[in-house]
């Protein structure tokens, strides 16, 4: 990629939009995953009995079980949310950037 092309893409508003939107989205989702996971694991480290609370008085199932399963599902849902937006919005922007290069 030569300097001229680099400058051209760098100044393309679609490129700027792509990079800033995708970066901030990726960072937000990463932070969401890290916060959920570290809350989970540090709760276990500091206060293990919290997750050992039974769901109801006559149940042996603890709230830790649905919470644990929810962390797994949350991880999967996050990948789905990212993939959905990237497949449409980010890929569209990206195609516009590539088309702009072809036209010139």
């Amino acid at each position: 990629m030569n300097k001229e092309l680099v400058e051209k893409i760098k100044n393309n508003p679609d490129y700027k939009a792509l990079v800033s939107r995708r970066s901030s989205f990726a960072i937000k989702l990463s932070v969401a995953m890290l916060v959920v996971y570290f809350t989970f694991i540090l709760t276990i480290a500091f206060n293990p009995s919290a997750l050992g609370t039974p769901l109801s008085a006559d149940s042996v199932t603890t709230i830790g079980i649905p919470i644990g399963i929810a962390v797994i599902i949350f991880a999967f849902v996050l990948t789905g949310i990212y993939t959905k937006r990237a497949n449409s919005e980010f890929d569209d922007l990206n195609n516009k950037i590539k088309d702009a290069l072809k036209e010139q």
Binding site: M1, L18, A75
Partner: protein, 554 residues
């Protein structure tokens, strides 16, 4: 606190090496239905290898299956790499033994995947060709970066292979009644056949078929268990707690101090993002879009699989525990309690017999063997490509080598790695290999990941920073594992560990990042200036895929 660490590492061994298959292993009687099904699998996969061999004509075909794998297929293959026999048997065994702690452990393995998707997958696909060293060395000096990245890859691969070979030898001995050495040689020979002839195409399809079989078998077991309780988790759990005590429903001793909790999390997350055989899979798809879909599907399959192993572990508590046919009476006579044949890691295998009789036991045993074969094949291919693509073609020949010659070197490297794996597998049979996989993950997290990540995102990274910082991370990881409780105390027999934690990742990853940062910003050489200037063009390609490697023509 020591108890926690002992437990942590026992979990690791269980998960990775099947090392917890207890004590002296007694060979089992030949299991005919298992052997028939296994032969069907081997026959079928050798057929695929033959088909793949005809389509593997260039280095690109060999390393990346021509780049034409779809996101769904690749997601299945990535999940297959992750769902090793050791993780199937180890995690369900951990749930069987400790209940809730098994779930905590599996969640740790899963949460790295979304991060890989958001940060790594697309730039990796856009910048790389065959190996992650392509990305790390994109704008830095080829020779030093490739040597470091290849060393990290080869070290990770060989350590992982040792763990898999030893685990597989013991498992096959137990399941099929084959001798340990015969089992190890059989695994080594088949994996060399798949990889040398079929390259990535065969390796990927073997992995996909195995992932499908494993998910189907595990689903059947979980459904059979749940059907027994009218699909009521409450009923399953209450029966299980009657047999095993109420404590299996709460966190036990797996994580209880913050440092080890964070260090384990860092090792699992960054380690996963630095495993060469996983990273390599991203080059088998046509573009960043398919790479992204791969992670989406892979995360779904892996998460689903961990939920199944949780049910299977509880299923084993209610259907295997205390049943006379699965009781290890010899062990019970010595230790008391109700030990099951082959140790806790055999819980899922016994459960397969409990729910589906001899025929289904044979099926699950054959799937376990298939799983081992598929995982070691992927590892070997990643190791071989580090040798042929990074060391031979890029460092030794400076890139002036034709694709046929490069592929030939890969095949020789595959055979060499196969021989190493067999020899090491036999050598380490009676050794304590508890540290091996922990070390592999520590190296992947401390040497491979920081260089890869910063090369993608940090403008000011220079060759000097990457080489010094990456080497420091590598050295710290190795040193802390040696000075840690497993090697220093359990293997070398010293009274107390110099470094108290079994997971060094938090410390070694920090050392790597600080080292890379410091030796990059203080680098005022002319080359460093040029490397910083080259960032912009690299970043554009990583974000847009303009100029990225496409799929091959056929």
């Amino acid at each position: 606190m020591n108890r926690i660490f002992t437990f942590l590492i026992l979990g690791t061994i269980a998960v990775f090496a099947s090392g917890a298959i207890g004590g002296e292993i007694q060979k089992q009687a030949l299991n005919v239905s298992a052997i028939v099904m296994f032969l069907l699998f081997v026959g079928g996969t050798l057929g695929i290898t033959y088909w793949a061999a005809k389509r593997t004509k260039s280095a690109k075909d060999f390393y990346t299956a021509g780049g034409g794998i779809t996101g769904f297929q690749n997601g299945m293959a990535i999940a297959g790499d992750y769902m090793s026999a050791a993780s199937f048997l180890g995690i369900s065994g951990l749930v069987y033994a400790k209940g809730y702690d098994g779930l905590i452990y599996s969640i740790g393995f899963l949460v790295g995947w979304p991060i890989i998707l958001f940060m790594i997958a697309e730039p990796l696909r856009n910048l790389g060709k065959y190996t992650f060293a392509d990305v790390a060395s994109y704008r830095l000096r080829q020779t030093p970066i490739r040597i470091l990245a290849a060393s990290g890859s080869i070290a990770t691969v060989i350590l992982y292979l040792i763990a898999q070979m030893v685990g597989s030898g013991k498992l096959i001995q137990l399941l099929f009644g084959l001798q340990y050495e015969v089992a190890v040689i059989l695994v080594g020979v088949l994996m060399v056949l798949y990889v040398t002839f079929g390259g990535m195409l065969a390796t990927t399809w073997v992995q996909i078929i195995k992932a499908f079989l494993l998910l189907s078998g595990a689903t059947f077991m979980a459904v059979a268990v749940m059907a027994h309780y009218d699909f009521s988790f409450g009923a399953l759990f209450s029966h299980a707690t009657e047999l095993k005590g109420i404590e299996i429903m709460s966190p036990g001793g797996l994580v209880s101090d913050p440092i080890s909790a964070i260090s384990l999390a860092v090792a699992l997350m960054f380690g996963t993002a630095g495993l060469p055989h996983i990273l390599m899979r991203f080059f088998t798809v046509s573009d960043a879009r398919e790479a992204r879909k791969s992670v989406f599907y892979a995360t779904g399959f892996i998460g689903y699989f961990y939920i199944l192993t949780f049910i299977i572990g509880f299923g084993a508590i209610v259907m295997v525990l205390g049943k006379p046919e699965y009781l290890d009476m010899a062990k019970q006579a010595i230790e008391g309690g109700t030990p099951i044949l082959g140790g806790n890691n055999m819980a899922a295998i016994h459960l397969s017999h409990a729910v589906g009789g001899d025929f289904f036991l044979g099926f699950i045993s054959a799937v376990a063997f298939a799983t081992i074969l598929a995982v070691v094949s992927g590892l070997t291919l990643a190791g071989a490509s580090a040798i042929s693509h990074d060391l031979y073609a890029s460092v030794l020949k400076k890139g002036n080598v034709d694709s046929i010659k490069e592929m030939k070197v890969s095949k020789i490297a595959t055979i060499a790695l196969g021989i190493i794996a067999i020899v090491m597998g036999i050598m380490f049979e009676k050794q304590n290999i508890a540290f091996v996989v922990g070390l592999a993950f520590a190296i992947a997290a401390s040497a491979n990941f920081p260089i890869l990540f910063l090369s993608m995102y940090w403008r000011k990274l220079t060759t000097r920073g990457a080489v010094i910082g990456g080497s420091l991370g590598l050295a710290t990881a190795i040193l802390l594992v040696i000075l840690g409780p497993i090697v220093w105390v359990q293997i070398l027999g010293n009274a107390e560990a110099i470094f108290p934690y079994k997971y060094p990742a938090l410390f070694s990853v920090t050392v790597a990042f600080i080292g890379i940062w410091f030796f990059s910003i203080t680098d005022s050489s002319h080359d460093a200036q040029k490397e910083i200037e080259a960032f912009e063009a690299q970043y554009i390609r990583s974000q847009t895929g303009i100029g990225a490697e496409g799929a091959s023509e056929h």
